[in-house]
Amino acid sequence: MRRLGEYILFLGRLFKNRESFRTYTKLILDECVLIGLNSIVLVSIVSVFMGAVSTLQTAYNLVNPLIPKNVIGLVVRDLTILELAPTITGIIFAGKVGSSIAGNLGTMRITEQIDALEVMGINSASYLVLPKIIATLLMYPFLVILAGTLAIGGGYLAAQYGGVLPPAEYFQGLKLEFNEFSVTFALIKSVVFAFLVSSISAYMGYFTKGGALEVGQSSTRAVTVSCIAILLSDFVLAQLLLI
């Protein structure tokens, strides 16, 4: 509970005594490159294989001859949009970006770089953390859209080259009983996950005490807590918005 209180106070500090808008604009753009663009390759690779494997496994489990093959496209589409793209990408994101944020801030803390900012009269929490959170909120939904698109593309590749079903049926399945709210739901989830991963990782890194060992521990804790937070919020959002 003490940690939760600290975390909430930390979030409050982000909006107090901020620097100029111009300062943040440049920082946010830099963070967008670091957080978003540098994650594209990893997210793309994972997504293509995630979609391809989903197609193969759905086909493997679809043994009833009365169920048409195009259902595979429908299953892959809903699975990808509702769960795999936002959640699995979120967990990958927590591993890559969350650990980087915590490690970066933790190192700055133990080498007194954060103290240097404070002594200059700069709100270090706001200066260092707010751009990371905003950049994550801006970039993560794009990564989720990219992940969803590529996963469906990966499913197509598996259908085409794995001999599971004809591509025409796969596309037919993709269009079957499509509910637009699935996309809205995925984007809502992406914003929530982006906030959780960036803010939790920043909190863990910012309050690191000790030396190099503790920086490593903060990074590990950031990934662990972010993943748990993603899974919990995934359940809560599904319960609130889908049921």
Partner: protein, 250 residues
């Protein structure tokens, strides 16, 4: 001028600073000395606001920093430059960007003026032509000089240094000490240095405050220190053989 009045700070049950007072005058190199763990760095962090004292006052030219509102604290902090023990340079920025950083964030100065100012202070700390080098590419002594340049680039009125000589060889240490004294004198800054380096004490200690067991035991200057008559201070000052010989020679 900075006045510290009855400063007290505890961590849990342990009192690290007990009712310490002192006056750090403008244009002087003021030293806080003491053995490792005596509380001198904690005192510095209380003075610059990185820690909040349990009681006592820190007055910057009469303005009480401890109880000041956020805006006043920010105003005072923007008059402060600090050199940290490890330099605390931003490792993602090169030398020029590190030194320019306070100007980028805290001023609306045009870019060419900023660069002129950065080049001026880099020249002042004898680091010309290092603008594009990264902190990891320069020596410890150079990192300290970049730290000093960053601390004075914004025309700071107060300069704080936490163990400026740690990790440096004796010759580089003396150069850093001389640089700090020159800058203090030239720009009439109030400089406060935390150190346990006896060379620094003897070289630049215009005002020395000695802390032991959480308390101020002595204050004076480098001329008086060898005749202080305070046993703890004598044990600290004459800890090595060379200083003992020096004392024996009178």
């Amino acid at each position: 001028m900075i006045e510290v009045v009855n400063l007290t700070k505890s961590f849990g049950d342990k009192t690290v600073l007990n009712n310490i007072s002192g006056v750090f005058e403008q244009g002087k190199t003021n030293l806080i000395i003491g053995a490792s763990g005596s509380g001198k760095s904690v005192m510095l962090k209380n003075i610059v606001g990185l820690f909040t004292p349990d009681s006592g006052q820190v007055l910057y030219n009469g303005r009480n920093f401890v109880n000041a509102d956020r805006d006043t604290k920010t105003d005072i902090r923007r008059e402060i430059g600090m050199l940290f023990q490890g330099g605390a340079l931003f490792d993602s920025k090169n030398v020029e960007q590190n030194v320019k950083f306070p100007l980028d964030v805290l001023t609306d100065m045009p870019e060419d003026e900023k660069l002129d100012r950065v080049n001026f202070v880099l020249k002042r700390v004898k680091l010309e032509n290092t603008n594009k080098r990264m902190p990891s590419e320069i020596s410890g002594g150079m990192q300290k000089r970049v730290g000093i340049a960053r601390a004075i680039v914004n025309n700071s009125k107060y300069l704080f240094c936490d163990e400026p000589n740690s990790g440096l060889d004796p010759r580089t240490s003396i150069k850093i000490d001389q640089l700090l004294q020159e800058i203090t004198d030239e720009y009439q800054i109030t400089t406060v240095i935390v150190t346990h380096d006896m060379n620094s004490v003897m070289e630049i200690g215009e005002y020395i405050l000695f802390i032991s067991n959480s308390q101020k035991l002595w204050e004076g200057n480098n001329d008086d220190i060898i005749h202080s008559g305070v046993q703890e201070l004598d044990d600290f000052v004459f800890a090595n053989k060379m200083m003992r010989r020096f004392k024996a020679m009178g």
